[in-house]
Symmetry: C2
DNA sequence: CTGAATAGGTCAATAATATTGACATTCCAA
DNA sequence: TTGGAATGTCAATATTATTGACCTATTCAG
């Protein structure tokens, strides 16, 4: 017996693309895409003795200018303790350059060293090929739609803050 | 200094939507969408004492008919040992019903009990709202493009098998 | 100047999820 | 009957994450 939760289109209020089945497929699409995109760089990470947490941090440090620790925390959605382990390891390996912000000396601006930049570009290259192929295959218009939907998904309020998951404060 | 890896559109061979910057945005879009979609059900899981691993398993058991353990392993991309922990817990709580396949008695067909079905629909409902809103906002055409790109991404070979990550066999 | 708030770092304990490796059973198929 | 497929399990370990408790700087408002 298939799962159903909304009353069956009684007066067909919902357009076809908003059925539970379509939404379920979208959930799975995001799941599988995530799998594909973030599994590709694994073999490179393995060489360096890193994991996906390092990759995620490197990515945002690479592509955001003047990231601070708090900025990174917001992007990654993890605790400071968790992030700091990763940053410590990357810094010890000479991948990162953390310097004090001149405008606010409490802040640290995180940058990549040349070594870090090399690694980040290796990782990006590993992901790029799959994506480029998919984009080319789907075509320009589809990519526009893809982007519109993705932005709309990300737009909504953050689940980590909205709910009563955060019991403190 | 921003990162660049492909030679700058010398004769503009690449369409605009295939630039490194667009591909980078797509990677982040998948990352953030995954975050949003799979953080939403967390507070429900917490009530049951489950984690995201349980959610993923429940999802596919709910929406695939006649899933076997191997089928689930392929979908989830984890090891048998990892999956079995989750299945054991779900079964002990009366969420699952595993019965032997009559055609091939080595296989187990995994189904949801009514309890499991209730939980799965709660979890799905938690994800559905965000998605429906995003789809409605983006519109029918955009959703078509979204689907095309997602399918193209998932289409490519599986990173877990293609590389030399799997050293055995 | 003082105190609150912000930004950052760290120690310790623990949890969730995952891995590798080794074995065992049951069952299908050639 | 033998090989392999499907499943389950024990044990050890790794990765990533958490909560909770402290700590130092620095900024900023009063």
């Amino acid at each position: 017996m298939a799962y159903a939760s909304t009353p069956r289109n009684e007066i067909s209020v919902e357009p076809r693309y908003l059925t539970d089945d379509q939404l379920r497929r979208a959930i799975e699409a995001v799941f599988f895409s995530y799998q594909r995109i973030f599994y590709d760089p694994d073999r490179i990470l393995q060489v360096y003795g890193y994991g996906r947490a390092h990759h995620r941090a490197l990515h945002f440090i690479c592509f955001r200018t003047d990231v601070t620790v708090t900025g990174l925390l917001d992007l990654l959605g993890v605790t400071r303790q968790s992030l700091n382990r990763v940053l410590r390891e990357l810094q010890n390996d000479g991948m990162l350059d953390m310097r004090i912000d001149t405008h606010d000396r409490r802040r640290r601006i995180i940058c990549l060293t040349p070594r870090g930049e090399t690694l980040a570009s290796e990782l990006f290259a590993a992901q790029r090929d799959r994506l480029r192929k998919a984009f080319r295959q789907a075509g320009s218009e589809a990519v526009g739609g893809f982007r519109a939907v993705m932005e709309a998904i990300a737009m909504g309020e953050d689940a980590r803050i909205s709910g009563d998951l955060e019991r403190g404060s």
